[in-house]
Symmetry: C2
Subunit: 322 residues, 2 copies
Amino acid sequence: MTPDLAIGIDIGGTKVAGGVVDGSGRILHRARRSTPHRSTSPQVVEDTIVECVDELLHAVDDHRVAGVGIGAAGFVAADRATVVFAPHLSWRSEPLRERLQGRIAPPVTVDNDANAALWAEARFGAAAGESHVVMITLGTGIGGALLVDGHVSRGRHGIAGEFGHMQVVPGGLRCECGNRGCWEQYASGNALVREARDLIAADSPVISDLRAQLGPDESALTGPFITEAAQAGDPTARELLADVGEWLGVGLANLAAAFDPGRFVVGGGVSAAGELLLGPARDAYRRQLPGRGYRPEASIVLARLGADAGLIGAADLARTGG
Amino acid sequence: MTPDLAIGIDIGGTKVAGGVVDGSGRILHRARRSTPHRSTSPQVVEDTIVECVDELLHAVDDHRVAGVGIGAAGFVAADRATVVFAPHLSWRSEPLRERLQGRIAPPVTVDNDANAALWAEARFGAAAGESHVVMITLGTGIGGALLVDGHVSRGRHGIAGEFGHMQVVPGGLRCECGNRGCWEQYASGNALVREARDLIAADSPVISDLRAQLGPDESALTGPFITEAAQAGDPTARELLADVGEWLGVGLANLAAAFDPGRFVVGGGVSAAGELLLGPARDAYRRQLPGRGYRPEASIVLARLGADAGLIGAADLARTGG
């Protein structure tokens, strides 16, 4: 029997999500575990992955499974075997592929989760048919990945696509990377919440409605809270999203100058704001695009595969090689 | 006889330089013409190219010539046949390959001059053996090109590598592209000269030595003049180059975050300043690199093929396909 399926495992900060995926990107079976805490040993995370894979292999005829793809948040080396650093896990220069391959029969590949999500969107989602794509994942920070001439571009060492740490404001806001003025300090869920907090701290009347909805617990001031308020019509929440969208658009114009993609795909939690985010982003992008007027303009669209993109992409990368 | 040679033609703002190039990047014969003025018709530029090619075809057994590559300053479409816009010439959506192919026997390809120079450096020069390279040409502005997985990355529409128009200062200096704060307003020969002029206009004592060397003719205040003064030890000229170098380094750190190259190659007229430019660039780059310490660091080196890079690369792209 020709193997026509693959297993994808997406390792996030809170959960390990797995699935059996067919050649058209459909998820036939799912498995899920909590992500072991970062203080536990790498062995525990491996055990969790192997459990998921075993469960999924039992759900289908395992001769149909061409490969197992792992998508992990973190820095995966260009060999697609070694996790150099993973912020949510205890992996440091972890030879993950080798360790897993000793316990899993189908061939294992490892990739960055943003690369996996990009590949899923390029094969089955918002960028299907496009050869040159920039994927932006707006969450607490900015994740990113690149499709060049139809292939995921991982860079010389496997760490291309760190767009969030491109400097957009010299001497700007301090970033956890140690620098100042990084793009993700201006275009991210964290930026959205920080700006709202600053308005509250400034005791500005423009935030009084939002603050009243918030109640006494300021920890409820999250990206989703602001997005819901904006969708319900709150003008300040809309302004906050528009500011983030404007910075998004400026950064996308920079990436358009450098890469010349045919499409930008914007995913991640903040993208739930939809046009309240993308409208201002497109305006700023068009205003900032070098050679605007004579330059063909890459479209800016929302991701379509949501939280499943990582596992679908990891599976398809394992099956097709990417 | 197997064709083992190719002809490269580099069309610059002032001269058309051609050469017969062998498989190791050596120029066996040369031809040269002045570039027709931008007010003349496209036909005149074509005639000039055809004259150069004919001269070179007569210099060798033309059965040995595998192809003719044209490198042109400007925006060349992804089909490598059409020059969409060339700032120094009268070409607008010019079907250059088709027109030339009617008059030249070997197969013709057209490419951007920065792509050609990158390819030459990657094959025979400062980036030989590297799979992921960013080329930066510092002249009056910034030219650029990208090598990804061993191939020139032209982008979806052929216009990747416009690094000079990435915004590095929000609301910064006005650029001829119509925007503000473009990188080439801070890291280029024009920036170098503008800063020196501003010091003269400010009547600052720090510029008095340079001004005395300059004499009454301020049009002599050029990039090469400042570079020579710096090389002779003038401290203000060195500061001016260091400022440009620092902005160069900041921008390179941004490109490292996005592309993860193994090497940066810096060419163009300003690169004649050598370590007076690259030293400060490397310092700023290391300071600004996201993930510095654990991230593998791309080297920053000078281009090696100088003014011949364009024609060597254009020839080799025609022979090998790039």
